[in-house]
Symmetry: C2
Subunit: 206 residues, 2 copies
């Protein structure tokens, strides 16, 4: 979404967990990884900053230095609060959709990280709902009186949150938002952006 | 701090809980209330937006529309996460510093809101520390590599968080931050800003 915001159409290279070695040339082992000419940039936030600085004449992702700093805080919030609240809801579904060769690694690493089996996490989905509702309510409040998290037009803060929604939508039948929810309408706006880019991946019904 | 950022020196009028009626002329009953000529504006966020729009030629609080939207999200986060994590730590101290005439109202309204006595809240201070540490860690992460929450220069997002720290510092001996903490150094920078404005109130030792 950030690339499309900048008017850039990249070549996408899909990568399985077992293919991490393909990113070793750049010194990274986690996606996303952006390769632009002879530059390689890993980590979503670093990529967004790179795009903003390398393509300053294209539409801005942050709206200036002060906006970039505020977006950075929201990015950290999403990493520490939004994503961890969402992940237990969908982690078993991620596992179920993986290439079988990746499943043992994923199970072992995630079960170690969370201290319980994937099945136990899935069983706790309902009791995790209040924690998820609390972070989603923060996003909902932001949509009071404006169509995008970034105000009247979409910008990087929208893409931060949209990424979490896209992951859920593409890998899990769990319905994060329902029609009638301001976040449902917001997600629809994001899915319509940039020529419907967000609809170009396989996904469960909205 | 937002007024000083805009180069405005207001006349301050202190107001006790029992004096709420003094704000009735403006249709508000909670401070802060800003009166600028024939305009009256209540609520910190609305005041910040008013200042930004009414004084566009002074230094910006938000750095543009996208930055304003992101700051609004952080303001909501502060209202819902930072302030509630901090308040249990200091609520009994607030009570102890109140004009005796205000104490019964404060006790009754806060004990009803939190469902326990002020003394019970004070006794839970230690068990609430992890929740406070979690929100303070979000602010600390933001100071990695930059002196202010808003980047290289202070802006409204700094003042949002500083307000919470100022309340604690002025009303409670509870030490929210200690020397050596990035947030301690950041608070010192904020206290030094605008001619040391933040040091002009009574406060406990830093």
């Amino acid at each position: 979404m950030a690339l499309a915001h900048k008017g850039i159409t990249p070549e996408y290279v899909a990568c399985r967990f077992g293919d991490k070695g393909r990113m070793a040339f750049a010194g990274y082992e986690r996606y996303p990884l952006l390769v632009d000419g002879d530059r390689s940039i890993g980590d979503s936030w670093a990529i967004a900053c790179y795009l903003e600085d390398a393509y300053p004449d294209r539409p801005s992702l942050f709206g200036g230095a002060t906006g970039r700093a505020a977006a950075r805080f929201i990015n950290t919030w999403a990493d520490r609060e939004l994503q961890p609240a969402l992940l237990p809801m969908i982690v078993k579904d991620i596992y179920d959709h993986l290439d079988p060769a990746d499943q043992p690694y994923f199970r072992q690493s995630r079960e170690q990280r969370f201290g319980m089996t994937l099945e136990a996490m899935a069983a706790k989905r309902d009791e995790r709902k209040p924690a998820l509702a609390r972070v989603l309510d923060l996003l909902r409040a932001q949509l009071d009186g404006q169509p995008y998290l970034s105000g009247t037009a979409p910008a990087y803060v929208d893409y931060i949150a949209f990424g979490a929604f896209q992951l859920a939508r593409s890998i899990s039948p769990y319905r994060l938002v329902e029609p009638g929810d301001a976040l449902y309408d917001w997600r629809k706006r994001l899915l319509d952006l940039h020529g419907g880019l967000g609809r170009s991946t396989n996904a469960y019904p909205e």
